[in-house]
């Protein structure tokens, strides 16, 4: 049981890393806590669900197509909402409330459009046979989801560290003012990062259909807290740390489900509060406390 929990924890951990990655990228670049993150995941899941149900598409085919839509939506949303807020004194708090409002709007519209039912895709679209490795057996969807997560994490890493726009993105993460002073188009870079964050949310949402069983319109608020817990664990504003945060979270969750199942639900919340109190900068992170 220990081996199974560990391996399943790693598979789920990679998935949870992806869940936290979009939120953390947006926080790192734009300094906004996207409280609608889970709701964008829900939309990504519903996109994959309906494409599968109505058109018979494999969710993996839906990913690039709806990904473009999410990037465009992210860029538009950024320019609509963020530039007029950045100038305000209490930007952090106000943006939190704003994105909370957005999450309510998305959830309400989703209920009006799709009804309250949870949706799930028939599991075997990712392969019918369970997968065996290291002596343990897993549903095929788990390693496939973990693999998809790794591909997207690697893509984010390449974007940030191997492209020119990625270098400017990291400059904005380090200091918005200094980046602007050295001639970087801060708004464009941030808008792209925001779009990329929503794209990651949509992929994580699609995978949630398999990893978490089903997705309902009110799925967003709970998973946003989980994403936040993962991001905090790895260090808020540090996208690379998020992968580590996801692994820690996934392994801890699987261990709890094996050995203390009735307490497994509390885990993300306890981890979040404990990390914030003990190491507010995350496991790897720097100090972020203020007076």
């Amino acid at each position: 049981m220990l081996e199974f929990s560990l391996l399943a924890g790693i598979l789920f951990g990679l998935f949870f890393g992806l869940v936290g990655l979009g939120l953390n990228l947006i926080f790192g670049v734009v300094r906004v806590v996207n409280l609608a993150h889970g709701d964008f995941m829900m939309l990504g899941a519903f996109g994959a669900f309906w494409a599968n149900k109505l058109l018979g598409w494999n969710p993996l085919v839906t990913v690039p197509i709806q990904g473009i839509a999410f990037v465009v939506a992210g860029v538009v949303l950024y320019y609509l909402l963020v530039p007029r807020l950045v100038v305000l004194r209490d930007f952090g708090m106000i943006s939190l409330v704003l994105f909370f409002g957005l999450s309510q709007v998305i959830e309400a519209l989703a209920v009006l459009a799709f009804g309250n039912d949870p949706r799930s895709i028939f599991l075997p679209v990712f392969g019918k046979e369970p997968v065996r490795f290291l002596g343990e057996t897993f549903p095929a969807a788990w390693p496939v989801s973990a693999l998809v997560s790794v591909v997207f994490m690697a893509a984010v890493y390449l974007y940030l560290y191997r492209t020119r726009v990625g270098a400017t993105t990291r400059a904005v993460m380090a200091s918005r003012e200094e980046a602007a002073a050295s001639g970087i188009n801060v708004d464009l870079v941030s808008a792209l990062a925001f779009g990329l964050g929503l794209l990651l949310a949509s992929v994580a949402g699609m995978l949630s259909l398999f990893m978490l069983g089903s997705v309902a319109p009110d799925f967003g608020s709970g998973i946003t807290v989980t994403a936040f817990a993962v991001a905090i664990l790895g260090g808020l504003g540090d996208p690379v740390g998020t992968v580590l945060g996801g692994l820690l979270y996934g392994i801890a969750l699987m261990m709890m489900q094996s050995y203390l199942p009735s307490w497994a639900n509390v885990l993300p919340y306890v981890l979040l509060v404990a990390t914030l109190l003990a190491r507010p900068g995350g496991i790897l992170g720097k100090e972020v406390r203020h007076a």
Partner: protein, 305 residues
């Protein structure tokens, strides 16, 4: 009118109005819930309006108060009015435990309190602790059932909460809290004990959430963890407070009267449309009217308490 008179008038008028209202209007539960949200919105006002810290998990203190009082009635056979006070004390104790969260800056604090309230909820609702908390099976307080007494208690608490906000608005404490909110570094340099002032605001805010939760439990008498840890209680209190205008006495009152009114007209029959409406309202508010409805009055040169 001298301002002392306006202050006392407001503080006495609100509970007095609620005390006589059941004779004119027969939906007593609606009146009771209005008082619940008035107090909760003022509780949010005390901490957010005066310190800038927004507790997203405010309902955790409300639920803690409900359970603290209920368990005191069930296990210690304490009379309900005393149990209400114990509910307030339960929330005070919980907020003391959580007070290290005040070291965090704004957004971290907001989400950390949300997580903390979920922790409290899962502990109380956990079947493994059913012997103590009744777990998910809920509480039955029928031994202490008294809709009239709990209604009047709630009216008194509402008046008390209003009085505290009026006091904060007028006093040195309120002024120093606002200084801390606007620039904590300068406030510290001016000799204000930043940590202590924030702590005081958190404790008052928690105390009212606990008292309200306890009285709510007494009024409805049968409830489940889901109903007293419902995140929408925090959300309503926050939205009402922000909509009216945080940092004023009148703002949260206006917010509750207007929005809770709208909720009762369309929110119960058409919850999705209401959720959509208040989502849009929150966004519009932040983008166009970040100081709340009272700022419309202020712009016309009116003095708003």
């Amino acid at each position: 009118m001298p301002r002392g008179l306006t202050d006392v008038g407001l503080v006495v008028l609100i509970p007095a109005l609620f005390a006589v209202a059941p004779f004119a209007y027969d939906n007593q539960l609606l009146l009771f819930n209005t008082m619940v949200f008035l107090t909760m919105a003022q509780g949010i006002n005390i901490i957010y309006g005066f310190t800038g810290y927004l507790p997203f998990g405010y309902v955790g203190l409300f639920g803690a108060g409900a359970y603290g009082a209920s368990l005191a009635v069930l296990f210690l056979h304490i009379p309900a009015p005393v149990a209400v006070l114990l509910g307030g004390v339960t929330a005070l104790v919980l907020s003391l435990i959580l007070s290290p969260l005040l070291r965090l800056s704004g957004a971290y604090f907001a989400i950390a309190t949300l997580a903390a309230s979920e922790v409290v909820y899962y502990v109380i609702a956990n079947p493994a602790l059913a012997g103590v908390t009744k777990g998910p099976y809920g509480i039955n307080l029928s031994v202490a059932y008294s809709p009239e007494a709990s209604y009047l208690t709630m009216a008194a608490i509402t008046g008390f909460a209003t009085a505290v906000v009026v006091y904060l608005k007028r006093s040195h404490l309120g002024l120093s809290l606002k200084a801390v909110r606007d620039d904590s570094l300068s406030a510290e340099m001016a000799g204000i004990n930043v940590g202590r002032q924030r702590m005081l605001a958190l404790l008052w805010s928690a105390f009212f959430a606990g008292l309200t939760g306890a009285t709510f439990a007494w009024q409805i008498s049968v409830f489940y963890p889901d109903s007293v840890f419902d995140p929408s209680i925090s959300i309503f209190a926050i939205v009402f407070c922000l909509f009216g205008g945080a940092g004023t006495v009148l703002g949260p009152i206006l917010g509750v009267v207007i929005l809770y009114g709208v909720y009762n007209v369309i929110g119960i029959t058409e919850p999705q449309y209401f959720q959509l409406l208040y989502g849009v309202l929150i966004m519009a508010l932040v983008l166009f009217l970040p100081e709340g409805v009272v700022s419309l009055l202020k712009r016309r040169g009116m003095h708003v308490l």
